[in-house]
Amino acid sequence: MILDRIRSWRPGRAGLPYLLLLPALALELLIHLIPMLTGVWVSFKQLTQFFIRNWSEAPWTGLANYRVAVDFDAPIGRSLLNSFWVTCAFTVLSVGLSWLIGTVAAIHTQDAFRGRGLLRAAFLLPYALPAYAAVITWSFMFQRDTGLVNHLLHDQLHLTGDKPFWLIGDNSFTALTTVSVWRSWPFAFLTLTAGLQNIPRELYEAAALDGAGVWQQIRRITLPSLRPVNLVLVLVLFLWTFNDFNTPFILFGKAAPEAADLISVHIYQSSFVTWNFGAGSAMSVLLLFFLLLVTSAYLFLTSRSRGADD
C-alpha cells in the first residue's frame, strides 16, 4: 500500500527528463537568453558613449540602427555588406577544405598501421592548442620580412617574385583561411574517425568480394554511412567558422584588412571600437536572423532528403 503510494508520488517516467533539464534551462535563460534579448532591445536604441552610463535610458530610435546597417549605398552599410560577402566566401572555403582534409585523413588512418596512434595524436594537435598561442604563432610566421612563410616561398622555393604581404592587403584572406582550416580540420577528422568506427567491417569485405575497388567502397559505403555525422559536422563547422572571432582578431587586431574583414570583428569594431552599441546590436540581430535562416533551411532540406532516402 505504502509502497504504491510512494511509487505514485515519484515523478513519472515521462516527467523525469524535463525535471533533469530544468537547471540547464534556468542557466540557459540566465546566460544566453536574457543577454540575447537585451541585445535585441539595445538594437532599437541610440546607445553611444553619451548614454552608456545609464544605458537603459538611451533614446529609442526605432529602426534607425537597422536602416543604417542595410543602407548599402552609404559607407557603413556597404562595408557591412562587404564584410558579409567576405565572411561567406571564407566560410565556404574554410568549411569545405576542413571537411575534405578531415575526411581524407580519417579514411587513411582507419586501418591499423604502425604509428597510427602517434599520427592521429599529431593530427589533433592544432585542435588541442590554445587558440591564442596557435594564432599568434601563425601571425609571426606570416610576417613579411621575418616570417617563415615568406622564407619558404620566396627565399627557398623562389615561388614569388617579390615578398608578398600576408597580414595586410588582399593576401590576408588567404592567410586567414589557411589558419582557420589548420585550426578546424582536426575537429572534422576527430568526428569522422569516430563515425567510421560504426561502419561494420563486413560491408567492406563483402564489397571487396564483389569486386568493388577502394574508390567505389568509399563512395558506396563510407560516405553514405557517414552521412548523419557529416550533417552535424558541416553545420557545426559552418556556425563556428561564420562566427569565428579569435582567429581574425589575433591575426589582424581590431582593424582587419578589407579583404579579411570577417563579420564578427566588423561588428565588434562597429560597437566597441567606435562606441556605437546600438548599431552594433542591430548588425548582430541581422546576423542572428541570417544564421537562423540558413540553419533552418539546412535542417529542413537535410531532413527531407533523409526522409526520401529512407
Partner: protein, 436 residues
C-alpha cells in the same frame, strides 16, 4: 538520429547566442569592496610587462598606506583591454576608484559622465591646477569644461636618430624640415638599411603622425563646430605626405606597413633604420641594448619656413589619472590622486618609466635633464597640440588610423597612392562617423 538532432540544436543555440551576446556589453568590471579603508586602482601597462609595473608601483602604494592608512588594491590592465574594461565598468557602475586612461580618450570618456570632474574645488584638494603643465592639463577633457582627469605621465614625439649612421652618411645635423628628412632618408637608405622606421600597422601611431602633419598643413580633422572634415585638401595632403614616406620617397621599408608590435623601435635600436619618430622611446631603446649616447633626439621636422600652427611637432601624449564617479570612497580616491601627483611621486614614477612629469615642480629633478627628455619636454611645452578634444575622438582615431593603415598597405604592395585614393579613403572614414 535523435542525438544528432539534439547536438545540432545545441550547437545552433550556442553559436547564435554567442553572436547576440557579443553586443551585450562585455564582462562586468570587478566590484570594489566598498570598504572606506581601501581603494581599487587600475594602472595601465607602462613598463615592459604588467609584472614589472607591479614591482614598480607596489612599494609606492605601501608608502601611501603608511601615510593615510588607506590600502590600495592594484590591478595592472594591458592596453588592449583597458578601454573595454572602462566601458564595461561605466555601463555597470562597478569599477575601480582610481584609474589610468590614455589622455586622448579623456574627452570621449568625459562624455559618458563616468569620471569625477576636477572642478576648482576638487583641484584645490590636490594642490591646484597651477602645479600642472598647461598643455598636459588641456588633454584632460573638452575645452571649456572642467577636466575629467589630471595628467600623470607626459610624453611627446621626437625624432630619434642614430648618430653613427648619420656620421657615416656624412650628415651633420638631424633634419629640421621634411625636405631635409627625405633627402637624409634617401642617403641613409642603402644596403638593406632604411632612413626611417614607421609603425604602419598601428592605428593610433598613424593618427598621431597625420594629426601633426595636418596641423602643419594648417588644418585639423574637425572644423570649429566639431564636425568631421577628414577629407579637406590639407588633410589629404598631410596623409599623403605620411604615406609617401613608403610610397614615393621609399625612405621607410615597405615591411613597416604591417608593424604593429613596436617592431619599428626594434629596427631603430638594432640599426636597421636610422630614424624613428616616437614618444619617449629611451627606456624602450635601453631594453633593446641601445646606449643613450648612440642616438640623438630632435623635434619632428616641420615644413620649410613654417610659422604658427605649422610649427606643431607632436600631439600631447601621456596618461591621465581619473576618479570613477561611482567610487564609494571619493575622499580617499582624491587623497590618492594627490599622492600620485605629488612632486616626490611624480619624480620617482616618471624617472622609472622614462616619461616627463606633467607636474612642473618635478621636472627640476636631474633625472629629467637628459638630452632626450629635455628635447621632449621642450616640445611638450612649446610645439605640442592635443588631439581633437571632442566626444567622438575615439571613433576618429579608429577610422582615420585605419584609413592610413590601408593606404600604407596599398603603398607597400606597390599600388599607386594618389591624392584621389587618399581622398576616397578619408571620405569613407568620415562617412562612418556618427551622424550626431
Amino acid at each position: 538520429m535523435r542525438i544528432h538532432r539534439l547536438a545540432a540544436a545545441t550547437a545552433l543555440v550556442a553559436a547564435l547566442t554567442l553572436t547576440a551576446t557579443a553586443c551585450g556589453g562585455g564582462t562586468a568590471g570587478s566590484a570594489d569592496g566598498g570598504d572606506p579603508g581601501t581603494l581599487t586602482y587600475w594602472a595601465s601597462n607602462q613598463g615592459a610587462s604588467p609584472e614589472q609595473d607591479k614591482q614598480i608601483l607596489e612599494p609606492e602604494l605601501r608608502k601611501f598606506e603608511q601615510q593615510t592608512g588607506i590600502k590600495v588594491k592594484l590591478e595592472v590592465v594591458p592596453w588592449s583591454d583597458l578601454l573595454n574594461r572602462i566601458l564595461a565598468a561605466t555601463a555597470s557602475g562597478q569599477g575601480p576608484d582610481v584609474l589610468n586612461i590614455g589622455n586622448t580618450w579623456s574627452t570621449s570618456l568625459q562624455a559618458t559622465g563616468a569620471l569625477l570632474p576636477f572642478d576648482a574645488a576638487t583641484l584645490a584638494k590636490i594642490g591646484g591646477k597651477d602645479r600642472f603643465l598647461p598643455a598636459a592639463l588641456d588633454t584632460a577633457g573638452a575645452a571649456g569644461k572642467d577636466p575629467a582627469a589630471v595628467p600623470l605621465y607626459s610624453m611627446a614625439y621626437g625624432l630619434y636618430y642614430n648618430k653613427k649612421m648619420f656620421k657615416d652618411a656624412g650628415i651633420e645635423q638631424p633634419p629640421a624640415t621634411w625636405d631635409e628628412l627625405v633627402a637624409d632618408g634617401r642617403k641613409l637608405t642603402k644596403d638593406g638599411h632604411f632612413g626611417l622606421a614607421v609603425e604602419g600597422g598601428n592605428v593610433s601611431e598613424n593618427v598621431h603622425h597625420v594629426f601633426t602633419l595636418a596641423k602643419q598643413h594648417g588644418t585639423d580633422f574637425f572644423d570649429a563646430s566639431g564636425k568631421p572634415r577628414f577629407d579637406s585638401p590639407q588633410a589629404v595632403a598631410a596623409v599623403k605626405q605620411y604615406v609617401d614616406l613608403i610610397a614615393t620617397h621609399k625612405v621607410a621599408a615597405p615591411g613597416n606597413a604591417e608593424y604593429a608590435n613596436n617592431q619599428s623601435v626594434t629596427d631603430f635600436a638594432t640599426g636597421k633604420a636610422a630614424m624613428l619618430m616616437w614618444q619617449a622611446a629611451g627606456a624602450n631603446l635601453k631594453s633593446h641594448g641601445m646606449n643613450p649616447d648612440d642616438y640623438g633626439v630632435a623635434p619632428v621636422p616641420v615644413p620649410a619656413g613654417a610659422s604658427g600652427s605649422a610649427l606643431t611637432t607632436s600631439m600631447v601624449a601621456g596618461i591621465n589619472l581619473a576618479v570613477f564617479r561611482n567610487s564609494r570612497n571619493p575622499d580617499g580616491a582624491l587623497q590618492f590622486v594627490k599622492f600620485m601627483t605629488s612632486t616626490e611621486e611624480q619624480t620617482v614614477l616618471n624617472r622609472t618609466y622614462g616619461s616627463i612629469p606633467p607636474v612642473k615642480e618635478a621636472q627640476a629633478d636631474p633625472a629629467f635633464a637628459t638630452p632626450e627628455l629635455q628635447t621632449l619636454a621642450k616640445v611638450l611645452g612649446s610645439s605640442a597640440q592635443p588631439l581633437p578634444r571632442i566626444a567622438d575622438e575615439s571613433q576618429f582615431e579608429t577610422l582615420v588610423g585605419t584609413a592610413v593603415k590601408n593606404l600604407l598597405a596599398a603603398a607597400a604592395a606597390g599600388k599607386p597612392v594618389t591624392e584621389d585614393t587618399v581622398k576616397a579613403e578619408l571620405t569613407k572614414a568620415q562617412q562612418q562617423m556618427p551622424a550626431s
